[in-house]
Structures are given as structure tokens and as C-alpha cells.
Amino acid sequence: MLRIDNLHACIGGKEILKGINLEVKAGQVHAIMGPNGSGKSTMSNVLVGHPSYEVTAGTVTFKGRNLLEMSPEDRAHEGLFMSFQYPVEIPGVSMTNFMRAALNAKRAYQGLEPVAAADFLKLMKQKREFVGLDAKFMNRSVNEGFSGGEKKRNEIFQMAVLEPSLSILDETDSGLDIDALRIVADGVNRLKSPETSVIVITHYQRLLDYIKPDIVHVLYNGRIIKTAGPELALELEERGYDWVIREFETAGK
């Protein structure tokens, strides 16, 4: 699905990613954990092609294609989706128009006709119910006036509509209470299939109680310093990150 080799990236001349290696296979859930400032958000932003970040070395292949050469919109069309840590408010653009534009852009990329009005409404209703978003949200501007929980549910709603093959959940648990967290996680779990993969980026372990990872990585200072099974997340929760960092630094010497 996704293969990252020796990825280096910087923002504003400052190097943040210093050689990331990662392989995500179809059907897998990977968790990327790490202390603040370790490069977690940079990694997700680089993968979706945020223009503020510059890749200085390394390669990323997605479904066999060079991801780094693709525009952000083409990455999306190819099946890459990111649930934003801070979903953006877009005053004046209704959820309906936004979703129709996104869906039709993807369909055009696939050589399909724009979605018929009745089919679109049906799809919206079905996916809204999936994450428990009220119908009234569709007439409101994208994320405008949404609560923190509603914004995150809206991200999962969009994910459900666009049916990505690889989803990156960037700190999706931040600012969520337990109920909202459960709804969001439940949505992600129900969207999982043997053909789709998920990268969960999180600072805390609590989301991983709901979305069970197959593999857990620790990102520190722009590198993945430890990779293990789901038990690593629990250990990190108990003991913090310091021991992993020490272990890594000792090994380096």
C-alpha cells in the first residue's frame, strides 16, 4: 500500500524528518506515537502534499506510484485521506456543495459522470447516519460553528463518503470526550477492510483502546526509533517515552 524510504523533509529551512522508513500493507492499522515535536504531524502533512513542507530526500510509493510527484488532489483521488487535527472552517461553502465537489472530482478522475442528485442525497443520508451527524449539518458551512466533537465526526463522515484506501488520522483524539472518541473510533473500525489501511497518529494511548493497531511505531526527533506490536502502546502509556529514547540513544553509541 505505502512504502516510505529514508524520507527527509523540512519546513522553513528546518529539517524535521530525518530519514523515515515505514511500510504499511493493505489491511493493516499502524499507530505512530511519540512526544510533542517529534515530527508526527509533519509526516502526515508531507504524505498528503502540504505545500509548506519540502521533501529533501527519500522516496514514497503509494500503490506502486511515486506519491511525492502527485498533487494533493491526485493523492486524494488515488485513495489517500487525512483526518485533520484541526479541521478547517470554510464560511459560505455548504457541506452539501463541498461534498458534491469532492465526490465529483474523484468520479471525474475515475472517468465517471457526476453523481446523480438522487444518488447523492441517498449517499449523504446513509453516511451521515453512519457517524450520527444530523441532516441540518449539510446546509451549514463546512465546520463553521461545529463543536470539537462534531468536527471530528465530520472528518470520519467525509472518510466514509470518499472511501479512501489509506487513511491517516492525525491526532483525531485531541479535544474529544470519551463519547465522541467512541463514535469516531467506531466509525473508523467499521470502515476497515482487508483492502484498506489506517495510520493512527497520536500522542496518547487512549484512542488505541478503540482502534486496535497491528503495529506501533515510536517517532522521535524525525526518526522511527522503535517498532513493535500493540503491546508497545500500553507500555508507553505506563512508562512514558523516556526509556525508548534512552534505549535508542544507547544503541546509537
Binding site: 498528503v48 502534499g49 502540504h50 505545500p51 498533487s71 494533493p72 488532489e73 493523492r75 486524494a76 483521488h77 485521506f81 487525512m82 485533520f84 479541521p87 478547517v88 472552517e89 470554510i90 464560511p91 459560505g92 461553502v93 456543495n97 463541498f98 465537489a101 469532492a102 472530482a105 474523484k106 478522475y109 458551512s141 467525509q158 470518499l162
Partner: protein
């Protein structure tokens, strides 16, 4: 000093001008001549004209059709300014000449409604029209009203008597069409009697890419408890210059809603002077401009709260691309004793490129203490975060931009009460955003 050319021209052609017009319009020409000689045309030295050099526009030796030579106009071919699903009473001005309209549509109007060409109607109702003509257009200061009054030979008038509401929107289509470059002097008079109602849509078009300079003066009397909606859509060409002055007087309890839309033009200066003269009058004054290339749009508004308990609400939004220049200067004056005034003025602008320029100058002058007044002005770019968010969802950068710009302008368009006109404007604005510059040559007439 270019006014000298015009005062001289008038003196040489006094008879010709008069013969091509009517008594009501001729009666003010000598006053206009004196005013023009005293105050001249506005220059950039005046604060109100800092960003638009009106006097220079008038410098070239413009031809005028003072002899009223009939320029053939294929009305049915050229006037295709339709708003789908909006049935209107349509009237036409070819350059500055009223084109006899379909008389049958007048029979549906209530008794006492005066509507049609200024001179045509002045022939039948000279006293009524003389009561209003020239009474609001202030010539005693630098501006274009004096020059307009000096040379205007025809125009459009609508007078709605007390208690009458014209249900169907009235549409005035103006079309510039001439075998030579020309200066066009247009005059519009709108009078609403007590408790009357009118919706007026003015569509400004040019049929070719000749150089035109349009000088337009509109006078609006909104009587007690009357209700007026006035929409002004400019869809001309890059070679077109337009300077317009709008004078509005609102009596007690009247409600006036106006919006100016500039999509395709060359250089435009619109000045709106609104006097809230009776208690409880309310005004909504909006504008939207979508321009690029070398287009220039300058809106000046002056809202005079002369009495208590009035409301004014202004919203102007510009999207500027290329090397376009925009200007908004809005002044709200709340006079002594105008208590419980509620006034709001907002001007928001997006410059798509660094080469586009916007000047904004909000001004509030308040001499009463129990008022609620606010104003705000911003100049910015499209929200990069929103753009990227949309692209991550697969929406192309250009579509994302269009969606954001549509959302930006829609705040003004959604305040227009005529639903079909809203839809039409959304369509035109979207087409404008998608077309980019220079694609509009030759498609100035909405199809």
C-alpha cells in the same frame, strides 16, 4: 480644466441640445452651465476622487450625439438580457435614447403609474416630472451632476403613485452601441409615492468594444413607507468608462435596498449619496465587484442620517485579480439629534495577486450619543488552510478557489430578495471566476 471644453461646446450647440430634448430637461441647463463653470469636474486633488481621475476621463475630445442621430439598434437581437424565471416589465435605453417599448405591457399597470422615456413622459406629464427632475442631483459641488444636467437629452423615468405597488420587477436595459467612440449622458428618475412599492433592475451592457464614457445620474425619491429595491448590474467591456452618481432621499418609514454588481467593465466610478430624511427609514446598500486585468472599480457612498430612528447597512465586497484596482470610500454621517441610529458598514476584499490593489476608507462621523454604529474593512487573500483542506478532499485547486470566491461574494448576493436574480448572479459570478481575464470580449451581453 476639461470642463471648459464642455461649457464651450454647450454654448456653441445650445439650440441643438435643446431641440433634441424636452422642456423639463432644458429648463435646468443654464443652472448646470453656471455650476459646471464654478465647480468644474472633479480632479484627483479632491479626497473623494483620490483613486479615480475623473477629470482625465473627460479630457479626450469625446463625440456626443447631440443631434440625436438615430443609430440603428436591433432591439430584439441585441437586448438579450434575460434572467431565467424572472418575468419583468422591460424598457430599453440605446446609448442615451429611450427606445419605444412594447406599449402592451403598460396596460397592465395601475392608473397613475408613469413609466418610460423621460422626454416621452415629460411630453404628457410635464408638471409631475418637473416637480422631481433635478431636485436631488446636487450640482453645487465638484461632480458630474452639472455636466450631466447640461447635456442629458433623454433617459428613463418611473413614478409610482401613492399606495401602488408594481408587482412585476421593472427592468431597464441600457445598451451602448455606436459606429464611433462616444460619450453617453444618461438620466434616470425614480419616484415612489407614499406606501408604494417598486423593484427595479438596471442592466448595463455594451454591444461592441468601442470606447465609451458613460455619465449617468439617477435620482430616487422614496416617499413615506414606500419600499424600493434597486439593483444595478454592470456587464460592459474593458473599453468602457462609467461614472455614475446616485442621489436618494428617503422619507419616514421608507425601505430602500440597493446593490451594485460590477463583473465586466473598464473603469467605473459609482457614487451613492443617500439622505435618510424621515424617521424610521431603513437602507441596505450593497456592492460586489469581481474584476481582473486592468479593470478599475471605485465605489463611494455617503449615508446621511439626518433624523432619529433610521437604519443603514452597507456591505461591499471585492475580488481583485491581475492588475485590477479597487476602491471603496464610505462615509456615514449621524447628525445631531439623530438618536437611536443603527448603522453598519462593512467592506471586505480579496486580492488574488500582489499586483492587484485595493484602497478602502471607512469614515464615521457621529454627532448623537444614543447610536449603534460600526464599521469594518479588510483586505486579504484566500484562506490557504481552507484551500489545502479542499484539495486534500480531491477538489482541484482552481475549483477550490472558485468555491471560496463564490462563498465570499455570496454574502452580498444572498441579500438580494429576487430569487431568480440571485441565481442569475451566482451563475454570472461563477462564469466570471472561471473565465479569467479577456475571455469576456464579445460576450458582454448575457446569453
Amino acid at each position: 480644466m476639461s470642463e471648459k471644453v464642455y461649457t464651450g461646446l454647450y454654448r456653441e450647440n445650445r439650440t441643438l441640445v435643446g431641440n433634441g430634448s424636452c422642456g423639463v430637461m432644458n429648463s435646468l441647463r443654464e443652472d448646470a452651465l453656471a455650476a459646471l463653470e464654478t465647480f468644474g469636474l472633479p480632479t484627483k486633488q479632491l479626497e473623494e476622487y483620490l483613486h479615480t481621475d475623473i477629470a482625465r476621463w473627460f479630457e479626450p475630445d469625446w463625440g456626443m450625439n447631440l443631434g440625436r442621430v438615430r443609430i440603428p439598434v436591433g432591439v430584439s437581437d441585441r437586448f438579450r438580457c434575460s434572467v431565467p424565471n424572472l418575468s419583468t416589465l422591460a424598457y430599453y435605453l440605446a446609448d442615451d435614447r429611450f427606445v419605444a417599448s412594447d406599449l402592451s405591457q403598460r396596460t397592465s399597470l395601475a392608473d397613475g403609474v408613469i413609466i418610460g422615456g423621460l422626454c416621452e413622459q415629460a411630453g404628457m406629464f410635464p408638471d409631475t416630472i418637473a416637480e422631481y427632475y433635478g431636485k436631488l442631483a446636487d450640482m453645487q459641488r465638484p461632480g458630474i451632476a452639472a455636466l450631466n444636467t447640461l447635456f442629458a437629452q433623454d433617459g428613463f423615468v418611473v413614478i409610482v403613485p401613492d399606495g401602488v405597488t408594481i408587482e412585476k420587477p421593472v427592468q431597464l436595459v441600457t445598451l451602448l452601441q455606436s459606429p464611433v467612440d462616444m460619450m453617453v449622458t444618461r438620466r434616470i428618475l425614480v419616484v415612489l409615492g407614499r406606501g408604494s412599492g417598486l423593484k427595479l433592475l438596471v442592466c448595463d451592457h455594451s454591444a461592441d468594444s468601442r470606447n465609451y464614457l458613460v455619465n449617468q445620474v439617477t435620482e430616487v425619491f422614496a416617499g413615506e413607507d414606500s419600499s424600493l429595491e434597486l439593483y444595478d448590474l454592470e456587464e460592459t467591456a474593458h473599453t468602457n468608462k462609467r461614472v455614475s452618481e446616485l442621489f436618494v432621499r428617503q422619507d419616514a418609514g421608507s425601505s430602500v435596498r440597493m446593490a451594485g454588481v460590477t463583473l465586466n467593465n473598464g473603469m467605473t466610478r459609482n457614487s451613492a449619496y443617500v439622505t435618510l430624511a424621515g424617521k424610521g427609514a431603513s437602507l441596505m446598500l450593497d456592492g460586489v465587484a469581481v474584476v481582473d486585468g486592468s479593470q478599475h472599480v471605485d465605489n463611494l457612498t455617503f449615508v446621511d442620517h439626518q433624523v432619529s430612528d433610521c437604519q443603514s447597512d452597507e456591505l461591499f465586497k471585492y475580488v481583485l485579480d491581475g492588475e485590477a484596482v479597487g476602491s471603496f470610500a464610505g462615509k456615514v454621517l449621524v447628525r445631531e439629534g439623530s438618536q437611536r441610529t443603527v448603522s453598519q458598514q462593512t467592506n471586505r476584499n480579496i486580492c488574488m495577486k500582489r499586483t492587484a490593489r485595493m484602497f478602502t476608507q471607512p469614515q464615521l462621523e457621529i454627532y448623537a450619543d444614543d447610536v449603534k454604529c460600526s464599521h469594518g474593512a479588510t483586505v486579504g487573500q484566500l484562506d490557504d488552510k481552507a484551500l489545502f483542506y479542499m484539495r486534500q478532499r480531491g477538489i482541484s485547486e482552481s475549483d477550490a478557489r472558485t468555491l471560496l470566491m463564490m462563498a465570499f461574494t455570496d454574502e452580498v448576493i444572498s441579500r438580494i430578495s429576487l430569487e431568480p436574480l440571485q441565481q442569475r448572479l451566482r451563475h454570472l459570478v461563477e462564469r466570471r471566476f472561471k473565465s479569467g481575464s479577456n475571455l469576456c470580449e464579445g460576450c458582454q451581453i448575457c446569453k
